[in-house]
Symmetry: C2
Subunit: 466 residues, 2 copies
């Protein structure tokens, strides 16, 4: 039943995975039936215990078998195999629910409809990194040396040019390349925060950032997000009361509400930052998806007390871990030292690819294509979700996020759990809020809002509650 | 004099860089002469201030001009242009001398002879990542999704297989992929250390690790490194006195002494780890360069209290930031959460390339070629350095490092500064030691030991001191 071909070029573990998959899929090993123990099977087939362990691990990952502690391996229920998530659970799940959710959004391919994800669908990104660029890497010799710690100078020059085009005067020497925006936030926190420093954050806002700041023992103060940007009265009271070290905010296409701060609001933030002497970290990860010119804190402040954090993972795909910090010059050496302490240096491969994409204009063209696609998708999704019964306000007009209110009577917790069981990942509003503000909201990715599985599910739940 | 061609396809900044370089190299702009100010030049040539700033920045990076605070830009002395390091100094230098040195070893291409570097020369690595593998990336679709946070399952399976071949029983689910070994140490410190925890370290040992642990507010206790591995008496006294949380050690091809711990020594370390209940972090970054099978703590302990840290940057080149932690299963979820907090996720590109290299056997073949080249290079370097007057003990037989004692009368500080001025990077022994043990030693990379510029310089200094 479990035989393998010893002289085959196919590794024994692969053969075992195939064989067991076949037996399960053909029904010869029915749901719930117990597999031989690792040792028994190794003995019976004549392979090592490690071969069997590795095969079983892969079968578990595929959702075909389940390990039950102390009892062995069993054929998993058939429903787990279809649309169900195949995320590794059990001992490998995250300890923190917020980080566990972050992991699910990163592993969105496990879901039929990852509507709670902050990334665009893979199918939108197929032209993002053309193979012509990758085939240049070997010729370039870029892998023979490390990427300079601060980041490739040619890449930094191109980044500086882009930021200058957005109206922020900056030189390449003020840019530090990072493994994405999260890495940038970590380096900034390492560099600027002492334990128990007060840090102001958007509420609602990006949940992984909240967890990162807490990991640096920061005391988080929520500042309500309103349609125009930051609630300036709340910002001033918090600044007066807590004397914060920094305010981390996303002015453009805010996650999760989708709103962008007005120029007047930006001016108000900077006036308070000066008055109460705090640093502002401006999260620009969605800025390239904005279809029209945007105003930013960095532009008004000219990077005197603002640190500008950018990223390319939203536009090139989450597999490309690359972003940057544009900082006041005096902070750059400290940020570079923090980078050495955290990761030693960056990836020459990813930096080369990004440099080529920017220099060739391919990044710009790809971004234009994404924006052209995102606008109509957003409109279609809004219509579909409203028909399903969700309430979507008008204050946000662009970008990837729809901040949707559920009708009274729909329990968001229950909704998310049930959605997951049918392969839909939803992001519930409370996750984004440290003050409990987002209760009754969902953040829905505009690229998925008109997926029939999603809106039919939402419609049935909204109707049942009505 | 500074004219540019406005309609040329060559960017204006590039034209300016070329033009000024020519003027300097032809002697028309002599050493020490002052350049027009950024504004003047922008006005005169009819380009933006940013174009000139960017051109000047690149000229500074090339060592052709110097910025003097408040006074403007001047043509740099000619000696700076030849073999001299072109590392960005001034405001961008590291604040910490140890990190500054780390940065120099990473930017080794700035030196004619980077003998103090811990990386192999780029010329040894040209076949490390064949273009055939890079051209597969686009087809693979790997960039359309993020790398799973813990690391690509196929890659983890291959890593587990390699570690099992080294005699350590491990499953893929116990591996966390990182951006290299330094990132691994940072994640381990984040996960396991509280401020003021005592941590035992090899003395001498890897200086960046010392700085990383200090950044986590660890109290470092030096444990002398001897020919057989760790000084077990010193380890026991320190363990009794300080009740450490962990011991970080490099059993195989130790940096900087090049020695490997014996099996008996490994057994002794583990016995003390059990008796005094500390975790052992075993740094395996040079293991793949060992020409014969090695014994390791992980192998004896079977990853119960040992964390095994590996890296591919030493063999594939420092531009590939990829490594891993193989950990006791119970620690894996915490390490994964620390990774989310630090960088969110890994690079799908680097992970794909490594997976292909391992799966195709190309990594193994490249490693064999490196070892075949390193053995003879080591012997030649030892002979050359001994002729020059350095004392090299026999206890280390393999790997990249030669731990060389200077004859009495040679001042190591002076030697390193003078070496740098002629394009030689040297690593002085005191940098590796937190107890001051390495005084009078240099760590020399065996790939560079017979470079005539190096040994002639060393010979002249040793003779002068005799």
């Amino acid at each position: 039943m479990f035989s393998v071909v010893r002289k085959s070029p196919i590794p024994l573990a692969d053969q075992l995975v195939e064989r067991v998959s076949e037996l399960i899929e053909s029904g010869r090993l029915p749901e719930g039936s117990r597999l031989p123990s690792v040792r028994q099977l190794a003995h019976r087939v004549g392979v090592s215990v490690y071969t069997v362990t590795s095969a079983f691990e892969r079968l578990s990952a595929k959702g075909l078998i389940d390990a039950r502690a102390g009892a062995g391996y069993f054929v998993a229920p058939a429903r787990n195999r279809a649309a169900a998530p195949r995320i590794e659970l059990g001992p490998l799940a995250s300890l923190d629910p917020i980080l566990g959710f972050a992991r699910q959004t990163l592993e969105q391919h496990h879901f039929a409809v990852p509507a709670g994800s902050g990334f665009l669908p893979g199918s939108w990104l197929t032209d993002a990194v053309p193979s012509s660029i990758l085939s240049k890497v070997a010729r370039s010799g870029v892998l023979l040396e490390s990427a300079p710690v601060q980041g490739d100078p040619g890449l930094r020059e191109l980044l500086a040019e882009r930021i200058r085009m957005a109206g922020v005067p900056i030189a390449a020497r003020c840019i530090v390349v990072t493994f994405g925006a999260s890495h940038a936030f970590d380096l900034i926190a390492r560099t600027l925060l002492k334990p128990n420093d007060s840090v102001l954050v958007d509420d609602p806002g990006y949940f992984v950032l909240h967890a990162q700041l807490r990991a640096h023992s920061a005391h988080l103060i929520p500042i309500p997000r309103i349609a125009e940007g930051t609630d300036l009265d709340a910002l001033e009271s918090a600044a007066r009361l807590h004397r914060p070290r920094m305010f981390v905010t996303q002015t453009v296409l805010h996650n999760p509400t989708g709103t962008s701060a007005t120029a007047a609001n930006c001016h108000g933030i900077l006036t308070l930052a000066e008055k109460y002497n705090f640093v502002v970290v401006e999260d620009h990860v969605y800025t390239d998806l904005a279809p029209r010119p945007v105003v930013s804190l960095a532009q008004i402040d000219e990077l005197k007390r603002v640190l500008y954090v950018g990223s390319f993972t939203k536009v090139l795909g989450p597999g490309m871990r690359i972003g940057f910090i544009a900082a006041p010059e005096a902070l750059v050496p400290q940020l570079v030292d923090s980078k050495i302490l955290a990761v030693l240096s960056g990836s020459a491969l990813d930096e080369f690819v990004l440099r080529e994409l920017l220099a060739s204009g391919k990044y710009r063209k790809h971004t234009e294509r994404l924006r052209d696609r995102l606008g109509p998708a957003r409109a279609t999704s809004i219509a579909a979700l409203r028909r399903a019964g969700l309430i979507i306000e008008q204050s946000a007009t662009d970008g990837i996020f729809l901040w949707c209110r559920l009708p009274t009577g729909v329990d968001p917790e229950r909704l998310c759990v049930d959605a997951r069981a049918i392969g839909i990942l939803l992001a519930k509003g409370t996750m984004f809020s440290i003050s409990g503000q987002g209760h009754g909201y969902l953040r829905i990715n505009a690229a998925y809002g008109d997926e029939p599985i999603l809106w039919r599910f939402l419609e049935s739940r909204c109707r049942a509650a009505a």
